[in-house]
């Protein structure tokens, strides 16, 4: 069955940036239709369980992965209303000034087409709307910006134990900036620091799409349709005209939805996949891909976990999943470990609230233990565990990319294939960070210290922004080169990854793009 529909604006994806864009455009009076490929979700479906919470992860069409550091699509993506942000940890630091000028400054990586100053007012607007708990002045590395609207996350015993190690090495810590309420904020209740962020926060304390932007969008008249998979976008004479939508549960149900503006906010891998799968006579290599740039510069932060056991009790179950404290000591010097072959920035997220199990839980940190030795470790760790994670910048490489597979999904759309390997510089930076982290734990007096291997964290790039259509996919507002009413949102726009969590920056870019769209119209 084929149907025809129309809206002013179609937003593909209901995650952090899709819901944000929908809210801004609906508030301005636009008729907005949000299309979400995954199932309906609401706050009451966010069960507090490390086992049940896995249902929030990606379960759309399989993604093939290759390379020596795969991006981890299923772990790092969500599926369903609210998208990946439903399980995100809400660690919201800003990119630094030097993240925007990496190639000009250092001769490696890429430049952004905008500077920190261009983005600063949008960071400030977003943090006022969504609420961030933190200590701007204590965060001595932070670029200029408004103070945070809420007091910082409390420091529990785990945070105090690890902070002592930093201080022993004459290194500073500050409160971790979290988009989590430390006090009631704009009608939202305060967090009770029980560490269930990864399972999805049902009480409205964490700034996820179901709490912040989807209610705004719906109240302003936007429509949200779940189980609606966009398999192709239609472009004619340099203008996006419509999208072809399949009912995820019934591939025979196909709709063509026409619109004046199409916003693609389906997260990094699917953004590139949909552009590539929308090839036509007018765009034989896919949309925005005249110069073979779609899919390129795929990035993922390298996670650098450091663990320890302390003599004192650390109450590791308390706090937020993202952590309590922050260190960005070397952030502004991307050559700080050049003598070790490293390049880039990193930060430490310190004292993450820990559950006994799941991939980021206590048990997998010692994957070499089983039987009674594991039981004894778990009993001890439940009360004495400490952890921090380095967020390691991933150097953008042109050969790291999203491509189309030869295999197709049930809708006839080619699967995505993600090829990603970490550069030698990125791997060396991981090693340098791990060495530093272990020294911190030793200085903190941990009785046992160990570390984990590199893991993928966050997915960025693939449809990067730039001034030149030969080396990028969109302009700085996310408008696809040559198709100005096709606008991309999300971390797929990032030309560089920085060494900080991407969601806040993705929101700031979205706010800036929304303003541009509204002023242009």
């Amino acid at each position: 069955m084929k149907l025809e529909e129309r809206a002013d604006v179609i937003v593909v994806g209901s995650g952090a940036t899709g819901s944000h864009m929908a809210a801004r455009l609906a508030e301005a009076g636009k008729e907005v239709l949000i299309l979400e490929a995954g199932p309906e979700r609401n706050l009451s479906s966010l069960v507090s369980s490390p086992i049940w919470s896995r249902r929030l992860k990606w379960s759309g069409p399989p993604v093939e992965e290759s390379g020596d550091h795969p991006v981890g699509q299923v772990f790092n993506s969500g599926y369903g209303v609210g998208g990946s942000a439903m399980h995100h940890f809400a660690v919201w630091p800003r990119f630094h000034e030097n993240d925007f000028t990496v190639h000009s400054d250092e001769g490696l990586g890429l430049d952004w087409p905008i500077s920190y100053d261009d983005l600063r007012p949008w960071y400030d607007k977003v943090q006022a709307e969504c609420g961030i708990s933190g200590d701007a002045r204590g965060e001595v590395w932070r670029p200029a910006g408004d103070d945070y609207p809420m007091a910082p996350v409390p420091v529990f015993a785990q945070g105090a134990a690890i902070a002592e190690g930093f201080h022993q090495l004459d290194m500073q810590t500050s409160a971790l900036p979290l988009a989590v309420t430390s006090s009631p904020y704009k009608g939202r209740t305060a967090c009770i620091w029980d560490g269930w962020c990864d399972a999805g926060c049902p009480i409205g304390a964490l700034a996820n799409p179901l709490t912040i932007h989807l209610p705004i969008a719906i109240a302003a008249g936007a429509s949200l349709r779940a189980n609606a998979t966009v398999r192709r976008m239609l472009v004619k004479n340099g203008r996006a005209t419509a999208v072809e939508v399949v009912d995820t549960n019934d591939p025979s149900m196909v709709r063509t939805v026409h619109a004046d503006v199409v916003v693609l906010a389906a997260f990094t891998v699917q953004n590139a996949r949909i552009l590539l799968a929308s090839a036509s006579d007018e765009h034989p290599y896919g949309l925005g891909n005249r110069h073979d740039q779609v899919g390129r510069y795929l990035m993922t932060h390298v996670a650098a976990p450091v663990f320890g056991l302390f003599e004192q009790k650390t109450t590791p179950h308390l706090g937020a999943t993202g952590g309590q404290l922050l260190n960005q000591q070397h952030y502004d010097d991307k050559q700080a470990f050049r003598d070790q072959g490293a390049f880039g920035s990193y930060q430490w997220m310190i004292a993450q609230a820990m559950k006994p199990t799941d991939l980021l839980g206590i048990a997998p940190s010692r994957a070499d233990l089983f039987g009674q030795a594991l039981e004894e470790f778990m009993q001890r760790s439940a009360k004495h565990f400490g952890m921090m994670t380095g967020v390691i910048e991933d150097l953008p490489l042109v050969e790291n990319r999203v491509m189309l597979s030869e295999l197709k999904d049930q809708f006839g759309m080619p699967l995505a294939h993600c090829a990603h390997s970490a550069s030698a510089e990125t791997r060396a930076l991981f090693d340098a960070a791990i060495n530093e982290g272990r020294r911190v734990f030793e200085a903190a007096g941990a009785v046992e210290v160990w570390s984990g291997g590199p893991g993928p964290m966050h997915i960025m790039g693939g449809t990067i922004m730039g001034d030149n259509e030969k080396t990028s996919v969109t302009n700085s507002f996310g408008q696809v080169h040559g198709i100005p009413n096709l606008v991309i949102c999300g971390p797929s726009l990032f030309p560089t990854s920085g060494g900080v969590n991407p969601t806040f920056t993705a929101h700031a870019l979205t706010a800036r793009s929304a303003d541009k769209l509204l002023n242009a119209n």
Partner: protein, 161 residues
């Protein structure tokens, strides 16, 4: 739900055989004391028949695409064959000391004539499955003395067995 409770309710495995469930019980108890008795086999069986989006298995985000039946069944068959060759008993019949020996061999990749996922990877996954069943539930948190503090209690420990 423990195997005993499942038996009392007349529940039968849906994706795995009874022999495989029993093998997982022995393997689970060797990996994490009490994990087999807590229902490792029934947990995996329940997840294998669930729609892919509802699966709670950790393997779903470790680079393995569904369905996961072969991932488990091939590995269990290899473990069973090695057990018979080494101990003249099936995996389901192993004594705890022999089961511990089998787990050590699996961890080191020393199970001969192996088919299925790489041994070290299977060890990682099945050990974490056992941890889920033993430590990942409210009862498991209580066992470790960790306050559960649920916003929304899971209706069952791991879905509908």
């Amino acid at each position: 739900m423990t195997p005993g409770q499942a038996h009392d309710l007349g529940l039968t495995p849906r994706a795995l055989t009874k022999q495989e469930i029993q093998g997982l019980t022995v393997l689970g108890n060797a990996l994490v004391p009490g994990a087999g008795d807590a229902g490792l086999g029934l947990y995996i069986d329940a997840q294998l028949v669930a729609p892919a989006g509802d699966s709670m298995l950790m393997v779903r985000y470790l680079g393995v695409n569904p369905p996961f039946d072969d991932f488990y069944r091939k590995a269990l068959a290899s473990l069973d064959a090695w057990s018979i060759q080494k101990f003249a008993k099936s995996l389901a019949e192993l004594y705890p000391e022999s089961a511990a020996q089998l787990v050590r061999a699996l961890m080191k990749g020393e199970i001969e004539d192996w088919s299925g996922p790489p041994q070290g990877f299977f060890f990682f996954v099945i050990r974490n499955d056992a941890c889920d069943v033993k430590y990942g539930t409210k009862e498991g948190f209580d066992h470790l003395g960790v306050p559960y503090m649920a916003h929304i209690e899971p209706p069952t420990p791991w879905g509908n067995p």
